[in-house]
């Protein structure tokens, strides 16, 4: 029945990298939401001239970017083991 020693403040390099990758994964939907809202702020002239193709290309371009970054993050993030699970957020 020994008292639980407090978790160490600093992590090893690999665990630290994992934490930051998870932060990145958390950030993704916000990045996507902001990027896809950008064309809303475009003034009418640039979009009406080319019939909106720049908007089309922009939206699909952001889409490819999101897929690529998410794929990168998902391949780097290790499936969480119960021990280091959520140590940062839930305590």
């Amino acid at each position: 029945m020994s008292r639980k020693s407090p978790p160490p403040i600093f992590l090893q390099r690999s665990s630290y990298r994992q934490r930051r990758l998870r932060d990145g994964a958390r950030l993704m939907p916000f990045v996507g939401g902001v990027l896809w809202a950008i064309p809303l702020a475009w003034s009418g002239s640039s979009t009406t001239q080319d019939g909106g193709t720049s908007g089309l290309l922009f939206i699909f371009g952001v889409w490819v970017f999101l897929i690529a970054v998410t794929a990168l993050l998902a391949s780097r993030i290790k499936s969480d083991t119960p021990s280091d699970d959520e140590g940062e957020t839930s305590q």
């Binding site: 008292r3 994964a25 996507g32 909106g52």
Partner: protein, 898 residues
Amino acid sequence: MMPFSALIAIALLYVSLLFIVAFWAERHAATGKSKWLQSPWIYTLSLSVYCTAWTFYGAVGYAARSGLEFVTIYLGPTLVMVGWWWILRRLVRIGRAQRITSIADLVSSRFGKSTQIGMLVTIISIIAGTPYIALQLQSVTLSFAVFAQVDGSSWEQADFAQTAAWVAVGLAVFTVLFGTRNLDANERHHGIVMAIAVEAVVKLFALVAVGVFVVWGIAGGPTEMLSRIETSDIELWDQESGRWISLIFLSGAAFLCLPRMFQVLVVENSDERHLPFASWAFPLYLFLMSLFVVPIAVVGLELLPPGSNPDLFVLTVPLFEGQNGLAVLSFLGGLSSATSMVIVATIALATMVSNHIVVPIWLSLQGQQGAVMSGDVRYVILLSRRISVAAVLTLGFFYYRLSGGGTALAAIGLISFAGAVQILPAMLGGIFWRGANRIGAALGLLSGLGIWMWTLFLPSFGVDAVISQSVMENGPWGIAILRPQALFGVTGIDPLVHGVFWSILINTTIFILGSLATFPQPLERLQGAQFVNVFDHSDAAPSWTGAAAGAEELLIMSQRILGSSEAQGIFERESERQGRGREFPEVTPAFVDRLERELAGSVGAATAHAMIGQLIGGSSVSVEDLIAVADEAAQILEYSNRLEAKSAEQERTARALRDANAKLTALSIQKDAFLSQISHELRTPMTSIRSFSDILREGDMPPDALSRYAGIIHDEAVRLTRLLDDLLDLSVLENGQVVLHEQTGKLSSLLDRAIGAAGVLGGKLDIRRDRKDEDLTLTTDLDRLVQVFINLISNAQKYCEAPSPVLTIKVSVQGDKTMVDFIDNGHGIASENHALIFEKFSRVSDESKAGGAGLGLAICREIMHRLNGDITYLPQPRGTGFRVVLPKTMTSAALEKM
């Protein structure tokens, strides 16, 4: 031209192929060789039930009418998928830990396994889901009609209805066969998931094929395509920001809340690790599905005669160009989209209806004896599911018939989304906020449902269908702020945005306020903690106390739900765990909890809880139990902390005692040595005094010898007296009887006095001093201080064995203390003796050189303590050092006088 009958044959062939795939997958899963079935690709493809016929055909029509707005339907789910770490990961983990069977089960399980909440969510899902199923029937029927028209026949209303009926029946058969074959403990359907994955590939392939044909076959390449898009009539980018953002939110939320999506995302998920893969692969799927939508719409508008239905461009463009094969492929893609959606939606809805409406009602009709009645409950549950499947499809069919299958139906897709999304606040609140409770959830769901019905669903039937024109314009009973499309006087915004905004806002607000204002039941709090902290402890705290049921009764009941072999397997494993061999296991709360979870995998948490509750006698967890458990845990923790503190203290004491003992032993040895020493010291002068006084008594001797003998006797007596004086002095100091006489003087003159009195002047000892440092004025008992100095100087004289002995006296001021160090160049003192040199009677060396009795340093220490100073041994690299520490008061008082 292809005959219509050939198309029917192809469709039937395709469907039978799906049957074979599903059957094969079921067989493989049953034999356990399902490695391939559990690949993340299958999981990702199964998510494609999101892309229904409405999106397969409808997206092109949507793009033709509203430009890029169609893409919002895919952007929302993309954001949810790339943000998998937030919500989906949590949902999947909860789904596995709690054996969730549907979204209604999730919400009901979270809010205290409440039957009412489960019913409410089920009802919302049915109302929102039925039009969507009708939409699928419509699109399949329309695509058939397109081919029939090409074949030369024009369809009547009756033909449409008949086709829709046949499609509905066919889907019902497929769903019943593969969706309700067994009561799986995990509620997973390998056959159906596999069939859906195949259909996902077919529909993607079909749409991409049509797109490639349009871009490269008709337009002549991407660059030409882009210029065609630029010059086309479609207003690609004419977005109102409110609608754009609302639609992204709506589709993302619906992606989480639609029963069919929850089914494939959470319930059918066999491995959490598939989620990161799907997080990018499914957005990629959506990307490819929407990539060619705009080109097809643009080309369709150019080629086809005005007035053609843009919703069918995917079919009619290839047909117009004479590409029959491509058209059939596209038809199969549309058929796949419709069937996969309807099958999964029906399974999900049927599970919900059966677990949250039929079985609870059946149980309550059976009364108290419900769970122990004879008969196979499995049969009842399966039957109720099959009937539910048929009922859901029938409902969809009737909705299709009633709505007339016109364009009004096409608009219902988003309204249906908005209905399903009403579950979102309760669901997200439930998994992120422990304070969310049953009453808040129920009130939120009810208000959301009400506002959605009033602002979106009922008006969708058309003017004067349900809500009259005058109510739309003036509000019910003339209350203007209740107008369905201008609630609270908010006018001028899109009706969909208006409805979504108000329903979600009021739903969420009432959910939060209701949760804040009311108090949850114990089981809700238990479940709340488990859901919100699902990553901290995946093991459940037992929620059953004082199990009153016998193991036999429990076995009978679980046999009837899980089947005898499965149930007996569970009981045997438990017996093994408890180490009871082949006997029945003991009914512990933990076992009952495990059993309940197994049952929940089949019939949902609420029903499983209710059934167990009937057997156990309703002795579920109470607040007192919770508090008792918490108290006990806290007490144990505190007790163990106290024990630990105590044992640490005892260890410290033991160490101090050991040290003291060692010191005492050393002292005792020293004391023995001293006693023999002092008897010798006393004896030697005594002996000489006695013998010389004997000689004197005899008389008759020369005067010079007389005076010499008398001198010896005197010297010896002085030595004795000094020894006794020292002993007396020490005793007085130790008893605190000494009286101090305060005087003021210079440190340098004190040292002069000490050196003079120690009698070292002109001797061998070389004393080095720095008179500048010694220029300090002291106020203390100067005579006593000089006594200490004398002792230290004469010690150096006595014990320093160096050939040319040197004593250095250094004075330094550190902070509020003055240090006087006496350092010689002798041998020093061994470290094991450092603790002893200040003790009485202690002598480091056996040599009794100057007849010291080992009292000098003890006296010094006592004096310094009386003067509030200290004397310590100062370890040196070479030689012996002592440090006399004079406290500030001794010097500062003097400084004031200067």
